[in-house]
């Protein structure tokens, strides 16, 4: 259908129009809520990037979203829809937390932090392994199983935090605080060490790991044999078999990579900010990852841009609470839903119109 459209319209104009539509509808919602959409927009923008501390928060939120966005995107490349980012991030955090809690008395930071990071990836991968295996070997649809695994992760965490890992003598279900050797350094502390002062924010070194993850995913998908296998399975599973690729292995492997990426949220949240195990630290990042991956069209560059946008919305959204009577940060959830709707479910809606316009107004000599 889009074969006759030039690439810049297909990957540039149409996604932009879809996002514009999402914001337009969100504006209508603000209007219905009795506020001025342009006021709301300016509060969002200023709240997100208007001052130094806000930028730190925006980048901190974006870090989580890069991880979950990449997780969804990698699975997408293999034709798998991993809705389980939320659960994998939760269990990944459990891994990081368990590593920190059990080793923070003995190991120095330079050993402990990498171990905890690896644990978060491994636990996240393990939580995605079974849905992947069931999809590959038993034909159980990965969408349904990952949804179920989200709930299982949530129940498991409640059980563990309330009955097992809770710090004795404390009301809320939280573990003890990790020793400082397990803390991922804050960026403002790191930069203060070399004489640069920036505002305090939860932004920490995990953002560098997110950057590494982006490069890793790009290389994996576009420059390795494995990535080729993943894309082939995603495009045509039976063709992959004829090409000597084992789709079962690829499906299980891809789900594990996807789960590990989602699991890294635990690094940013637990090692970076909370410094303890607690409930609900994933706060919907797994689901926002779906919006991020769709908006970024599965490409790391797109995902970084989409993460920055959503990170800004998360941070700007908190300002809405202070500035308005009628609207709260929940507006961001609405925007998120609209983005998933327009750039995901209704992605093909604009194509016929774009095609007609292009055919009428195409420049002379244009393709």
């Amino acid at each position: 259908m889009n074969r006759d459209l030039p690439r810049w319209i297909d990957v540039g104009v149409i996604p932009a129009v879809n996002i514009l539509l999402a914001f337009l509808v969100a504006g209508l919602v603000v209007l219905v809520a009795g506020e001025n959409p342009f006021d709301a927009l300016s509060v969002l923008v200023i709240g997100a990037v208007g001052y130094e501390e806000a930028i730190g928060y925006t980048l901190y939120y974006a870090t989580n979203l890069v991880f979950t966005g990449l997780a969804v995107a990698v699975a997408f490349h293999a034709g798998l829809f991993n809705i389980g980012g939320e659960g994998q991030a939760y269990i990944g955090g459990l891994g990081a937390g368990l590593a920190a809690l059990s080793l923070d008395g003995t190991l120095p930071a330079w050993m402990l932090i990498p171990i905890a990071m690896a644990a978060s990836g491994l636990f996240g991968a393990a939580w995605a392994l079974l849905p992947g295996w069931l999809q590959a070997h038993r034909g159980s649809h990965v969408v349904i199983t990952t949804i179920m695994f989200n709930f299982l992760a949530s129940a498991l965490m409640v059980h563990l935090m309330v009955n097992v890992l809770i710090h004795p003598g404390q009301m809320s279900p939280e573990s003890r605080v990790f020793a400082e050797t397990a803390w991922m350094p804050f960026l403002h502390e790191m930069l203060a060490g070399v004489g640069i002062t920036i505002a305090r924010s939860p932004l920490n070194l995990s953002i560098l790991w997110a950057a590494v993850a982006c490069v890793f995913v790009w290389l994996l998908i576009n420059r390795t044999r494995w990535g080729y296998a993943i894309r082939t399975v995603g495009a045509n599973e039976s063709a992959a078999v004829y090409g000597g690729i084992d789709p079962k292995l690829v499906i299980v492997g891809t789900m594990c990579i996807s789960g590990a990426l989602a699991g890294f949220v635990g690094i940013n949240e637990l090692l970076g900010v909370h410094h303890r195990l607690l409930l609900n630290f994933t706060a919907g990042y797994g689901f926002t990852g779906i919006a991020v991956a769709l908006m970024g069209r599965g490409h790391p560059v797109g995902i970084v841009l989409a993460s920055l946008l959503f990170g800004a919305l998360y941070q700007g959204g908190t300002e809405l609470d202070f500035e308005f009577e009628g609207i709260t940060r929940d507006l961001v959830v609405v925007i998120q839903g609209l983005v998933i709707l327009f750039s995901g479910a209704l992605a093909y809606m604009m194509h016929p119109l774009a095609l007609r316009l292009w055919q009428r107004f195409r420049p002379e000599g244009g393709r």
Binding site: A33, G139, T328, G337, A345, L346, A347
Partner: protein, 324 residues
């Protein structure tokens, strides 16, 4: 002995209360999924229905108007899902997720804007709700041992929508297996091309199916906010839409087994609630969270094919492209 009996009856009574919205949502999902449209959005449609019902009932004071608006709102979301999946052939899972996320945000934003109570709707008076219905002779027969309790607690005394939920199962069975529409519905979920060849519009059929899904989800939502409770609270469905989906799969996309799955899941929930904070011999604190997770675990095990095989409608999730 009679205490144990009463406890058992009361647990079953709680089972029915918990299961009613699951049954409605599972029957809703059955129509959509048997027509070949995946519906992850049961949760969102229910939540929208719950909000619409409570908001309308709070403003107008009428439970019936609340129910009507809940059905209308949930149906329009279902048509949006249809637009994305049937007309524009978008990804059906993505569309469902979009609806869930959108509704989760929208109900809170609108709730705060309209009622200014942190996302809740104002508490409803008795008249604005579906009150429990006392079946004839419930009090007179209460004194009869065993059966009196059974009749008084378990069968009588539910609100109207519980009975609607229970009636929805035979109705669904009849429509799906005994009507022309049902035959076509099942066919379009397996081989849409055959239905198309027979001169029946695949698109129209699927639109009708998702519309029924929307209506039933609306009733399920209304049950939550103006039947079971007296108002809407944020995230009121709390995963019930997904449990209903699990029950539908557990029941292998058939009405009666899906009903039994809903009752099983409702029973697990009722037991877990009853065990809250109780010390069990040998185990200590009852692991309530784990009991509540059992429906999900059971569904995964079923999907894995270890207790029978759940085979989905063949054409599910595949947009139908008419050959040119």
């Amino acid at each position: 002995m009679t205490d144990t009996w009463l406890l058992a009856v009361l647990t079953l009574d709680a089972t029915i209360r918990v299961a009613a919205p699951l049954i409605l949502a599972a029957m809703a999902g059955l129509f959509s999924e048997r027509s070949g449209i995946v519906d992850i959005g049961l949760e969102g449609k229910m939540l929208a229905g719950a909000f619409a019902a409570a908001a309308t009932a709070a403003v107008t004071g009428s439970a019936w108007l609340g129910l009507a608006v809940a059905i209308a709102v949930s149906s329009s979301l279902a048509l949006l899902h249809g637009l994305a999946c049937i007309t524009y052939r978008g990804n059906q899972v993505v569309s469902g997720v979009a609806i869930n996320v959108l509704v989760a945000g929208l109900t809170v934003v609108l709730g705060i804007a309209w009622f200014d109570q942190g996302g809740q709707t104002p508490p409803l008076s008795q008249a604005a709700r579906f009150a429990p219905i006392k079946l004839p002779f419930a009090d007179a027969l209460h004194d009869i041992p065993w059966l009196g309790d059974l009749y008084h607690e378990l069968i009588s005394g539910h609100n109207l929508l519980v009975y609607v939920a229970l009636a929805a199962v035979p109705a669904t069975w009849w429509v799906v297996y005994r009507t022309r529409f049902g035959l076509r519905l099942r066919a379009v979920g397996e081989t849409p091309a055959a239905v198309d060849t027979a001169g029946v519009s695949v698109e129209l059929l699927r639109y009708r199916a998702v519309l029924i899904t929307g209506m039933l989800c609306g009733i399920a939502g209304a049950y939550l906010s103006i039947g079971q409770s007296a108002g809407f609270v944020r995230d009121m469905t709390a995963g019930k839409g997904y449990i209903a989906l699990a029950a539908l799969i557990f029941g292998k996309w058939r009405p009666v087994p899906a009903l039994l799955a809903c009752l099983l899941f409702g029973f697990l929930d009722a037991v877990a609630t009853r065990l809250q904070g109780i010390e069990l011999p040998g185990i200590g604190q009852a692991p309530v969270a784990l009991i509540q997770a059992l429906p999900y675990a059971l569904t995964v095990i079923l999907l894995a094919g270890f207790i029978g095989k759940a085979v989905a409608p063949k054409a599910i999730g595949v947009p139908y492209v008419k050959e040119r």
